[in-house]
């Protein structure tokens, strides 16, 4: 473990128009830590993730990723690109490149962003396709894949980037129930490698299994956090208690 990939977020604020979505969020994530974010819908969980790679632009806040420091007030185009190149993102709706096959989806950023040769990218993609159980579907386009397969490609595409931080935005929420298991299995395998992960999910059992720490968010704030047993078994805040009662 090097300190180079530690993540620290301070004073993150985001509003859409008059609605404040993130209120002064601060958060440290250790290298290799797997953090799960839970909470009612509309409390800014997805926005938090999307602000970390500037898919949504935070109004204020500082994000430190190893030696990279990005201040929302003074951020440059190059900062945003650098941040995106050190994080990876798994979307709720998969968001695979529709004009690329499963294999090409994984190879795409390796070639264009990481500057790898086609041959190297192909080798890496083959390994990831194997790991995600998609070798047989490698040359299929997203439209021909099931939801579960598409999301596994989505995770594979993110894995290929070897990011300091992998962001998962409700990766199973859009899936038919029959595909949820295979996607969670793959995420477990990623977690076993001690990849640093920040995951927004409603899968409580999964969160309990793989999280080093669970954050409970409500109304744009981190209300409470702790190891899974502590937060899930013995919540302190009444909002956490109410939420856990509802989802249990």
């Amino acid at each position: 473990m090097t300190s180079a990939s530690a993540i620290s977020i301070t004073g993150l604020n985001k509003a859409f128009g008059d609605t404040t979505v993130l209120k002064d969020i601060s958060l440290e994530i250790a290298p290799g830590e797997r953090v799960v974010v839970i909470g009612p819908s509309g409390t800014g969980k997805s926005t938090l993730l999307r602000c970390l790679n500037f898919l949504d632009r935070p109004d204020a806040g500082v994000i430190r990723l190893g030696d990279l420091t990005v201040d929302a007030k003074t951020v440059s185009h190059a900062d945003i690109l650098a941040l995106r190149r050190r994080t990876s993102f798994v979307f709720q709706n998969y968001a695979l490149f529709a004009n690329k096959t499963a294999r090409e989806n994984i190879m795409q950023a390796l070639i264009t962003v990481k500057g790898k040769s086609k041959a190297d990218a192909y080798t890496r993609a083959a390994a990831i396709l194997d790991e995600t159980g998609l070798t047989k579907r490698a040359d299929a386009y997203p439209a021909a894949l099931s939801g579960g397969q598409q999301q596994r490609v989505g995770i594979g595409r993110a894995m290929a980037l070897d990011a300091d931080l992998m962001l998962f935005d409700e990766p199973t929420s859009a899936l038919d129930p029959e595909w949820v298991g295979e996607v969670l299995d793959l995420m477990r395998r990623v977690a076993e490698k001690r990849q640093t992960m920040l995951i927004v999910t409603h899968e409580m059992q999964f969160a309990r299994e793989i999280a080093d720490r669970i954050l409970f968010m409500s109304d744009g704030q981190i209300v409470e956090q702790g190891p899974p047993e502590q937060l899930l078994e013995n919540p302190q805040d009444k909002r956490t208690k109410a939420f856990l009662r509802r989802v249990a």
């Binding site: 790679n53 898919l55 690109l81 995106r84 190149r85 994080t87 990876s88 993102f89 979307f91 709706n93 998969y94 968001a95 695979l96 490149f97 529709a98 004009n99 690329k100 096959t101 795409q108 950023a109 264009t112 962003v113 386009y141 997203p142 439209a143 021909a144 595409r157 980037l161």
Partner: protein, 224 residues
């Protein structure tokens, strides 16, 4: 009423076919240049580059708002009077220029609409993996927009092929000009223009055949 002079038409056919390459040459070069220019303007209209945006909007407005024939006359007969370096411009070049500018204005709007039709997730995924805007546009967004824009763009190409006949008004002996000359010599106007109409029609039908294959190719990512 007199009978059609079929023998004349049969003899005229190979003469006029000889002019097809020039017609296709003007249309193909015009289309290629128009595609590049239109894509550039469509992307500009989406990102709205200051100052440049004003210029592009003015360009599109002018070339959509005035007849192609007026534009061709402006280039060929008008401009050389004010810009002396254009005095050596020939009819073929002027036609290609005119077709390019005229059709690029229409095509820019079609391509822009197609780009805006590409799902937001495609932009976000490109950004999330760290692509530059150029990489995103050239490798993800434009290829997907091409599929949506293709039928409309082929229509413009068909229009452009037929538009090359206006080169005749700039003194170019192309398909239309040659027909006019032949007809003037034989006085068999009906026969001559019937033959040239058939030739244009066949060219366009051949293109429609190509279009079907192009669309199958562009749709391959979307077949289930």
């Amino acid at each position: 009423m007199r009978a059609l002079d079929l023998e004349y038409m049969w003899d005229l056919l190979p003469v006029l076919i000889g002019y097809i390459p020039l017609t296709l040459f003007m249309a193909l070069i015009g289309m290629a240049c128009a595609l590049v220019l239109a894509s550039f303007m469509a992307v500009e209209r989406i990102f709205r580059v200051p100052v440049l945006d004003l210029f592009v909007r003015l360009f599109i407005s002018f070339f959509r708002g005035t007849p192609l024939l007026v534009q061709l006359f402006l280039f060929y007969y008008g401009l050389p009077q004010v810009l002396s370096f254009l005095t050596s411009i020939n009819g073929v070049t002027a036609t290609i220029m005119g077709l390019t500018l005229h059709f690029s204005a229409y095509m820019a709007e079609s391509i822009r609409a197609a780009i805006l039709g590409v799902d937001r997730s495609q932009w976000e995924a490109s950004q999330a993996v760290g692509m530059t805007q150029f990489q995103m546009m050239s490798q993800i967004i434009l290829p997907q927009a091409a599929r949506v824009a293709a039928p409309t763009l082929v229509n413009y190409f068909i229009d452009m092929i037929k538009g090359t006949s206006l080169a005749f008004t700039l003194g170019v002996t192309e398909l239309m000009g040659a027909t006019q000359k032949e007809a003037a010599g034989s006085f068999l106007y009906f026969e001559a223009f019937l033959v040239v109409a058939a030739i244009y029609w066949i060219i366009v039908e051949a293109l429609a055949f190509v279009q079907r294959h192009l669309e199958t190719y562009l749709n391959k990512a979307h077949a289930r």
